[in-house]
């Protein structure tokens, strides 16, 4: 089931699929770089990546929900316009219609196909039975627990017998135990061939989930999104989370996810003419708060300065999604190195972890100005003004040249967080004015 690249023709194939958004000034921001991707029959494919990296957008382009900016999606070799012919999506938020009963929710896609009432009733009941919702047909979604709701979501997706089943972080809104149960049930349906679905494409940010389910794991890099690595998984089912092969694979995916991708990040240009705005090189600020990073450094210092990221995440019961941005922040500021999936604290990081609040701020300030182009620019631009004050719009316009509107808002928000913490500048949320903090 796993060695697919030579196997039968793909069901869905993306060729040079791209997504970009136009900017007011006529330029375009690319969120997904030209991507080739094929979905073969008989496979569960997991698309793995940090949140906001474009996984969901890619899924929506493959299903035809969102139009591609360039490239095309092929369905059995034929180019597709609009939605793909026979696919389903299981949504993260379940996306059930709260005013319809379980039965009506599951019947709705059949109704859309113009199926007569008797037959759609029969089919819906059969699939409701298969996902273990027997007895809940006349319940409304709000009476159900999260797990039950997602079972309805799965039933609704399966009732149209899709050739490819798409799942957009289907278990991330559920608690750990429920999610595990549902994964097991999905695998059972799939492995026992209880459903005619020929391929499953699941988007997730949970590495273990990907390794438990998938025959193939595609790791997505970001800014713009691109395929960063492609793993074939050949561990037989049922997969043992404590097994050597399992842990090895999880570790190597961790390594890939933490491997720096941009070579130029490490050596940012040093000199700027005061006030001259050179757009920052594309260093995306990870969306974290300084407090979280301080906590991570303290824990690392406590554990002797070196820890396996996978184990660390486990101990903190965090998912990769939550831990990685914090690690990225510490790396960016020079407090941390990542080697072979291990996080290693630097001397500066040690100093930071041991310092009191005021000293931490000083260390953070120096590190941020030295290593984060955006913060440095903001400081210099503020210094260049006689009243030491600038409107946030000024910086947002600058960021808009490189990021989507949403992303530049988040970038600026993070930069302001950091700058305030480091006492580089003050920010008045009501007027949107940034003022240089006088020493």
């Amino acid at each position: 089931m796993s060695t697919a690249n030579t196997a039968p023709a793909p069901i869905i194939e993306a060729r040079k699929l791209e997504k970009s958004y136009p900017q007011p000034d006529g330029s375009r921001i690319q969120v997904i770089a030209a991507t080739d991707l094929a979905i073969y029959p008989g496979q569960i494919i997991a698309l793995l990546g940090a949140s906001g990296c474009g996984k969901s957008t890619l899924l929506r382009m493959l299903t035809g929900l969102s139009p591609a900016s360039a490239g095309a999606v092929y369905w059995h070799g034929q180019p597709v316009q609009g939605e793909s012919p026979n696919v389903s999506i299981v949504f993260q938020s379940f996306a059930l219609f709260p005013w319809l009963t379980v039965l009506e929710n599951v019947e709705a896609p059949l109704e859309a196909r113009g199926m007569p009432p008797m037959e759609r009733h029969k089919r819906a009941l059969r699939i409701i039975d298969a996902v273990g919702l027997d007895g809940f047909e006349s319940a409304y979604p709000k009476e159900l627990s999260g797990g039950m709701k997602q079972r309805v979501g799965v039933a609704r997706a399966l009732v149209v017998e899709p050739e490819v089943l798409f799942m957009d972080e289907p278990f991330s809104a559920l608690d750990v135990l429920t999610a595990e149960t549902l994964r097991g049930e999905l695998l059972e349906l799939w492995l026992d061939r209880k459903i005619p679905t020929r391929a499953i494409f699941i988007v997730t940010h949970n590495i273990e989930e990907a390794v438990v389910l998938a025959d193939r794991i595609i790791v997505l890099g970001r800014n713009p999104a691109h395929i960063h690595a492609d793993f074939a998984v050949s561990i037989p089912h049922p997969r043992d989370r404590k097994g050597a092969k399992f842990i090895e694979l999880v570790d190597s995916i961790y390594r890939v996810l933490t491997r720096p991708e941009h070579k130029d990040d490490t050596a940012p240009p040093r000199t700027y003419a005061p006030g001259a705005m050179v757009p920052p090189k594309t260093i995306m600020l990870p969306h974290t708060r300084p407090g979280g990073m301080a906590g991570l450094l303290e824990i690392l210092a406590d554990q002797g300065g070196r820890a396996d990221l996978h184990r660390l995440a486990d101990e903190l019961s965090l998912e990769v999604d939550a831990l990685l941005p914090t690690v990225d922040t510490a790396v960016l500021l020079g407090f941390l190195r990542v080697e072979e999936g291990d996080a290693i604290i630097t001397p500066l990081g040690q100093e930071f972890a041991a310092a009191n609040i005021q000293t931490r701020k000083t260390i953070f300030r120096k590190a941020a100005i030295a290593n984060v182009p955006l913060i440095r620019q903001m400081e210099q631009a503020l210094k260049a003004k006689s009243n030491r004050t600038l409107d946030e719009e000024f910086f947002r316009d600058l960021l808009d040249e490189q990021f989507s509107e949403e992303e530049s808002r988040r970038q600026l928000e993070t930069a302001i967080q950091w700058g305030r913490y480091a006492e580089i500048f003050d920010y008045d949320a009501e007027t949107g004015k940034l003022t240089l903090t006088e020493a």
Partner: protein
């Protein structure tokens, strides 16, 4: 104004899961069936009475009886008028909102247009509507009835349309995507996603609209237009005639009848609908408490109703679903994009040119009409606008002054709220205009009596919006904040300044916006009134509009309407919208 903000009563808890008729309750079901059949007989007689009246020869000045015995028939006439007007409003509002939400190009024009139309008082539509209807049906009472219904319609339709539009714009993304990926036809998307998602907003705005219909009923059933005097038998004209004659006895009877009808409607129609609508609440978790209404349970149990639904409606829905689904698939199969697009684009162009031409003609005539007015006329109009402005805002401030403390008290004492809220709801459903003659009886004797009465009427008509919103706001203040205020020994001034006022601010703004618009509209009935055989009027923009309509001065009517619409829209843009923004940024309570 805007879509109805969450009022306290909107937090009505959930009904239990659909009640299925229990087998042991067959005797109940049987009784209900009999009641329903009796109701059907009564309805048939009602239709007959209405038909006889509507299709009869035209009588612009029907004799309006002052005998209380006639009140049930008059109540029926008025109810049917308001009901038909509401049905028209709903259909129009759905179409308008759907169009505005689905076409970006149409949206640009249609949404601001709603804003303007909402700010035009009912009477300004009167000459156009009435003359057109009478010209269309010169020999039948139908024209007059239709005119009156359309007048009521103009007072009901806009906020429903706005509510539907804004619901459509806020359909959650993943639900919308589910509808697309499962290839819902247009019909299915409307019936299973758009309409259910909008239901709660539609219900609350419908209640508001129908209340508005009662408020302006007197103006819509009896009016003078130049030399022509129009009277249609109904509760509104009964009250108006009684007031003109100074017949206190008839006034009291009329008010009692109107209040009875409204309270009955509230209990028999709106309460069950609200409870039923709760099923459309967009929430993932069931609320703790469950509200019930006996009537809804009874209807749900009546086997007759269920049979009717299964026999008649379900097949129709199924047929619609299948037809649209098949149609959509066929359209997709024979889809030839460029051709259809071109045809469509041409249609849009032709329509746009037509609309622009119509607009041009209208503006030309309007300007010609307005050119007859002199500078002094405009100065006078602006002066009366200033007077009405003062009156409206005094009423608003007075309203806020009493409703804020009372609302906060009710909202923060749940036990008291359980008693006070239903009472306030009944009080609010009584149209202030019906009470107006009684108020005048007492106040006209005083110096500046009409001045006071006018403000009182605006106050009576609009204070409820503020009160209900303040109650909701006070209920929404988180308990931990209240506890913090208690722990830190806030003085009561500090508590108001740091906790209560900021907490209720967004709600207060919502209530005030609605109240402000309502007060401007109410000025046409508050400042000008036929009472005891004479016209009592206070100088102001409202009375200018009313008297211009009475005397057939179309130029004055047009100018004063334009001024009022401009003022209301300007106040909305310059004041309320800013406060809204402030409310949604700085005063938003979030985790």
């Amino acid at each position: 104004m805007t879509a109805l903000a969450p009022t306290a009563s909107q937090t009505t808890p959930l009904p239990p899961t659909a009640q299925r008729p229990a087998g042991s309750r067959w005797s109940w079901a049987f009784l209900i069936d009999i009641a329903v059949f009796l109701f059907v007989f009564a309805a048939i007689y009602g239709v007959y009475a209405i038909g006889r009246s509507w299709l009869g020869p035209v009588q612009p000045q029907a004799h309006i009886s002052q005998n209380p015995r006639i009140l049930p028939l008059y109540a029926l006439y008025s109810l049917v008028r308001i009901g038909v007007a509401y049905a028209l409003s709903l259909v129009f509002a759905l179409a308008y909102g759907y169009l505005a939400a689905s076409s970006r190009r149409a949206e640009v024009i249609m949404v601001p247009l709603l804003d303007i139309l909402q700010s035009i008082p009912v009477l300004s539509f009167l000459p156009g509507v009435m003359l057109a209807m009478v010209a269309l049906f010169p020999h039948s009472q139908f024209g007059l009835e239709l005119g009156s219904i359309l007048l009521i319609f103009t007072g009901q339709v806009w906020n429903i349309a706005f509510s539907f539009y804004s619901s459509l714009k806020t359909v959650p993304r993943e639900l919308h995507e589910a509808a697309v990926i499962y290839r819902f036809s247009r019909w299915q998307r409307f019936a299973e996603l758009d309409l259910p998602f909008s239901t709660i907003g539609l219900v609350w705005n419908s209640m508001m609209s129908v209340a508005g219909g009662w408020f302006f009923l007197m103006a819509c059933e009896m009016f003078v237009l130049g030399s022509r005097d129009f009277r249609l038998p109904g509760l509104g004209s009964f009250l108006q005639t009684a007031a003109s004659d100074g017949n206190t006895y008839a006034i009291l009877w009329g008010v009692a009848a109107m209040v009875a009808v409204i309270v009955l409607m509230d209990q028999l129609i709106w309460r069950p609908i609200i409870v039923w609508a709760d099923k459309f609440k967009f929430e993932q978790v069931e609320s703790a408490a469950a509200a019930q209404t006996t009537l809804l349970n009874l209807i749900g149990r009546a086997s007759f109703v269920i049979r009717l639904y299964r026999l008649l409606l379900k097949p129709v829905f199924n047929w619609l679903a299948v037809t649209f689904a098949v149609g959509a698939r066929r359209a997709a199969a024979t889809f030839s994009a460029p051709k259809q697009n071109r045809a469509r684009r041409w249609l849009v162009y032709v329509l746009a040119v037509g609309v622009l031409f119509g607009l041009g003609v209208a503006v030309f005539h309007a300007v010609r009409e307005l050119s007859g007015l002199h500078r002094e006329d405009y100065i006078e109009l602006l002066q009366s606008a200033a007077l009405t402005f003062l009156r409206v805002n005094t009423a608003l401030i007075l309203g806020a002054l009493w409703t804020v403390p009372v609302g906060v008290y009710i909202g923060s004492n749940p036990r008291f709220a359980r008693i006070a809220q239903p009472l306030a709801q009944i009080a609010s459903s009584i149209p202030a205009t019906a009470l107006f003659p009684i108020i005048l009886l007492f106040l006209l004797r005083l110096r500046g009596g009409l001045e006071i009465s006018a403000m009182l009427l605006m106050l009576l008509g609009t204070q409820w919006y503020i009160l209900f919103n303040v109650i909701a706001g006070a209920m929404a203040i988180p308990t931990d904040l209240k506890e913090a205020a208690y722990i830190f020994h806030f003085s009561s001034w500090d508590r108001w300044r740091h906790l209560i006022l900021p907490g209720i601010f967004p709600y207060l703004v919502t209530g005030m916006v609605t109240a402000s618009g309502g007060a401007w509209n109410a000025s046409i009935v508050a400042e000008y009134f036929h009472f005891q055989g004479r016209i009592v009027s206070a100088p102001g923009l409202g009375s200018t509009i009313s008297s211009a309509s009475d005397s057939g001065r179309f130029d004055v009517l047009l100018a004063s309407t334009l001024i009022m619409a401009t003022i209301v829209v300007l106040i909305n843009r310059l004041l309320w919208r800013r406060l809204y923004r402030l409310a949604s940024t700085r005063f938003k309570l979030e985790a």
